[in-house]
């Protein structure tokens, strides 16, 4: 009997999602039963990594079979769930799923920043969003989507925040690595494009690449633009030195 099939029946009959550790414990208990047969005993001390690997194979098989349900990992625990396209019937059969109210756009933005950059201080979040986040932080903490995660080792020792226990479950994510486009968003520095260094064109930040047909109107003649603007009369001497 294959490990993955054993795991499959355990998850199939389980009333709650099971973690690899819980599955391992079941295997151990079965092996320790009096009179357990050899092949049952053999699975004693199956390492959790092996269980995870078997579960992943199993999940792939289910996906490949394109059934109406699949095996997923949410917050480190595995379970069978239905495919979303069957929701209309399930909704009428079982009723609308009891879920907390949807998050607002500011809350989602704030949560995304925390999720990708945790641990992060409030000031850092506000730096990225450009607005204060006090209100949404309250909501997020209340819903356990965000928790305090120690203090930053900087002056003032501000509180840092991280995603809370409800986060992965709420979005049905396996773990934090499962966040979409995680690599791109975690990488802190946004690479400065080389081209930006040119100051020649004194209008746009980006030099219009010669081959680029876009924005000719905007970039071609800055002087046309400028006078029309309300600040056109700014005296040339006033702007602070660019090196400020």
């Amino acid at each position: 009997m294959e490990l993955k099939s054993i795991l499959e029946v355990l998850l199939f009959t389980s009333q709650k999602p099971l973690s690899p550790i819980e599955l391992r414990d079941v295997l151990n208990r079965a092996a320790d039963e009096e009179g357990a047969e050899e092949h049952v005993k053999a699975l004693r001390k199956t390492p959790p990594e092996e269980i995870v690997a078997a579960l992943e194979v199993l999940a792939k098989e289910h996906d490949a079979a394109a059934r109406s349900y699949r095996l997923v990992c949410v917050a480190g625990s595995w379970q069978f769930v239905t495919q979303p396209e069957y929701a209309p019937w399930l909704r009428s059969f079982l009723g609308v799923k009891a879920r907390p109210s949807r998050l607002s756009a500011p809350a989602l933005e704030t949560l995304a920043i925390i999720a990708y950059r945790q641990p992060i201080t409030r000031a850092e979040i506000e730096q990225i969003r450009g607005v204060a986040v006090d209100g949404v932080m309250g909501t997020l903490k209340e819903r356990n989507l965000v928790v305090e995660a120690g203090r930053a080792d900087v002056i003032g020792r501000p509180m840092q925040f991280a995603t809370g226990p409800a986060f992965l479950e709420y979005f049905g994510l396996p773990n934090l690595d499962g966040l979409p486009a995680a690599d791109e968003l975690r990488r802190i520095p946004v690479q400065r494009p080389e081209s930006l260094l040119t100051v020649d064109n004194h209008l746009a930040t980006a030099p219009a690449e010669p081959t680029q047909p876009e924005l000719p109107v905007d970039t071609v003649d800055p002087s046309v633009n400028a006078p029309a603007e309300p600040v056109a009369e700014v005296p040339p001497a006033e702007p602070p030195a660019p090196t400020a």
């Binding site: 769930v81 495919q83 799923k97 949807r102 756009a105 995304a112 930006l196 209008l203 600040v231």
Partner: protein, 316 residues
Amino acid sequence: MRWRQPFTRPVPEMSEYRVQFEVFEGPLDLLLHLVKKQEVDIYQVNLLRIATEFVTYIEQMRELDLEIAGEFVVMAATLLYIKSRELLPVDKQVAVAVEDEDTEDPRWELIRRLVEYKKFKDAAARLQEREALMDSIYEHRPARPELTAPEPVRREAASVFDLVNAVATILKRYNERTDVREIQADPYTVSEKIDYLRQLSVGRPRFPFSELFASARSRAEVVVTFLALLELIRKKLFIAVQTEQFGEIEVELAPTPPAGATPQAPEPGTEGAVSEGALPPQSPPADIVEPTPPRSSDQLPEANPVGSDNETPQTA
């Protein structure tokens, strides 16, 4: 600071109308919107035009009497600073050093923030999709399989009081009959009813108490039937059980009917399913009466002793 002029300009008289105004989360959100309108990559955006549009937007907010968050004002200042730098003749502009310029060049700083903010805004949109998706996913949640045989329902023997209460309820139905009737000899006898009950139980191990009286036409008949039941219980041929408190009493055949035709078994007289001592003290003699039933079809007595204090005549 003449470049701040747009902000200090007196507000035009408050207009009576309100315009549908797109609300932005903050200055970066508004900037992104303006960039999007230009339909170019963020890196190639025309910042001067953006600056102008940004300020125009803020002015509109003022005209509409909207509260302008401080963040917007700060951003406007940054934009105008950038713009002012650009207005210098090219030869007067300070060449941007190649190194360490990231924090110095306000244009780059702004672009960097915009790019970063855009990424998180997109990430938030993906989270929102997932959030919506979760509404459509149902977990497989089997009920726990029944692994052990269900606990046998605890069935208490009904006491004689339970029985009396039950029959009293039934008798109430007959109470309303107050009409004057012809007096006639009661046609019912306990032994007849015993036969009837035993007939009733054939092929049916259990039946509800109330059913015993379903066909009763008079108060007397109910009473006689009840006495017959008591007698059968006393003889341990029937037992009365009650599965829950105040529940319907059920009558069933005793599990192991006394061997033979019940002559010797009921010696103790008052136990059985009916609780101890519940029966009137006169019952023991009833056993002895047994062998000499005047007209019982089943060697059962007429059970007078049981209900001897009853005001209703059992037999004519």
